[in-house]
């Protein structure tokens, strides 16, 4: 190998080295992204399970039927672990918003906001069904 070609080979080798390190970093960051996705899925599962628990004895539908938003807020707040912020909106069968007041336990400080939808049916002899849209975030 001539001295002139040796410099070009060094540059190619250096590029290869940089490529290897950056590809390893890229693979690592994709793993972190998967982990963030798993965290979001966990939070959405927590949200859905909390609503299911509240709805297991018809309490969720009853509170909405009664328009008792403060009790609904307290019940949802109790169902979540500490540090979880939520904002809940209730829609009727025509997707018109039912709750006139904000049902929330505070502001969202996190950039990771999870959205959960839940179809709720009341137990009352007069049938009402609702769509509940719940935004969740872990307080930063």
């Amino acid at each position: 190998m001539s001295r002139g070609n040796r410099g070009q080979v060094r540059i190619i080798e250096a590029f290869l080295a940089v490529l290897i390190i950056f590809s390893s970093l890229a693979a690592s960051s994709s793993l972190t992204a998967t982990q963030n996705r798993a965290k979001r899925d966990d939070l959405s599962a927590v949200g859905l399970q909390a609503l299911m628990k509240l709805d297991s004895d018809g309490a969720l539908g009853r509170l909405i039927d009664e328009g008792n938003w403060s009790r609904l807020r307290d019940a949802v707040d109790l169902a979540f672990p500490a540090g979880v912020s939520f904002n809940l909106t209730v829609y009727d069968e025509g997707i018109q918003q039912v709750n006139a007041v904000v049902v929330s336990n505070g502001g969202f400080n996190s950039q990771e906001v999870v959205f959960v939808e839940y179809a709720c049916a009341g137990w009352g002899p007069v049938f009402h069904s609702y769509v509940i849209r719940l935004c969740l975030a872990v307080a930063a």
Binding site: I20, S24, T32, Q35, C120, A121, V131
Partner: protein, 260 residues
């Protein structure tokens, strides 16, 4: 000799650079994978959100049936079930956050169920058991953003009440009736919200009240011990219980008490 070593080093320095880069890459990757695996072990839930959503829809479909059965058992038309399920189906179709979904349903129609509901209140005096029930087969199709789900499931909502008892004749000539009532939801013991008792005298059903020394002992496990006194001439005492479970489903059962 020293010069030859220096030349060797100079010639092989690029390969050493690649080997070093490979070593760093392996270190970075293995550390990241190790940290990822550790954190994944501590994350308890492995269930994807779509499965949770299907579970939540099953529960909501069940709630629709409870509401419908409460309506039908309180005198509503049996078509209420299909009407309510239609409304709920349309509501489900409006949910889009996990993809497009449809919920189809088929109320059971057979020798006992009519349009998905079955009320067996057996007004004959020897039945001892009353049943209010609803049964519907569902098919849920979710065309998800990442996966599709095609789930078939059946939901059965049944409230059952059983009544049995006997009477003892008191010195006064009155008959003291002792009853055992049991309430079940889907064959599991359940609490009653409200129960009223009647006895039959000369073809008329008369409600038992405080004037009959009515005592109801709630054992807390779906079993109710009831006693009251009646003054009727017949050798047997036909008794009826009409109750609501905690879901507002009405159910009725009759029995005939004999003397002990």
């Amino acid at each position: 000799m020293k010069r030859q070593v220096e030349e060797f080093r100079a010639n092989r320095s690029g390969q050493l650079l690649i080997v070093a880069a490979l070593a760093i890459a392996v270190l970075v990757s293995s550390t990241t994978i190790y940290v990822y695996e550790l954190s994944r072990d501590t994350n308890s839930s492995d269930r994807p959100p779509l499965n949770d959503f299907v579970l939540s829809l099953k529960q909501s479909a069940r709630n629709v049936m409870i509401s419908s059965l409460a309506n039908v058992s309180n005198g509503g038309s049996s078509s209420v079930l299909a009407t309510n399920l239609n409304t709920f189906s349309q509501l489900v179709a409006s949910l889009h956050h996990l993809g497009t979904m449809s919920l189809d349903f088929t109320p059971l129609n057979d020798s006992t169920y009519d349009s998905g509901t079955y009320l067996s209140w057996n007004t004959s005096d020897t039945s001892d058991t009353g049943v209010s029930s609803a049964y519907v087969n569902f098919t849920l199709r979710v065309y998800g953003l990442e996966e599709d789900i095609d789930a078939a499931f059946a939901v059965n909502v049944t409230t059952t009440i059983t009544i049995s008892g006997s009477y003892a004749t008191l010195l006064s000539g009155d008959k003291q009736v002792s009853l055992t009532c049991r309430v079940y939801n889907e064959d599991e013991p359940a609490l009653a919200k409200n129960m009223t008792f009647f006895y039959e005298n000369s073809g008329n059903w008369i409600q038992v009240d405080a004037s009959n020394d009515l005592v109801i002992i709630d054992q807390g496990n779906g079993t109710y011990l009831v006693s009251f006194t009646v003054n009727i001439p017949s050798d047997t005492v036909p008794v009826s219980v009409r109750g609501y479970d905690s879901r507002n489903v009405f159910v009725l059962a009759n029995t005939t008490c004999s003397g002990t």
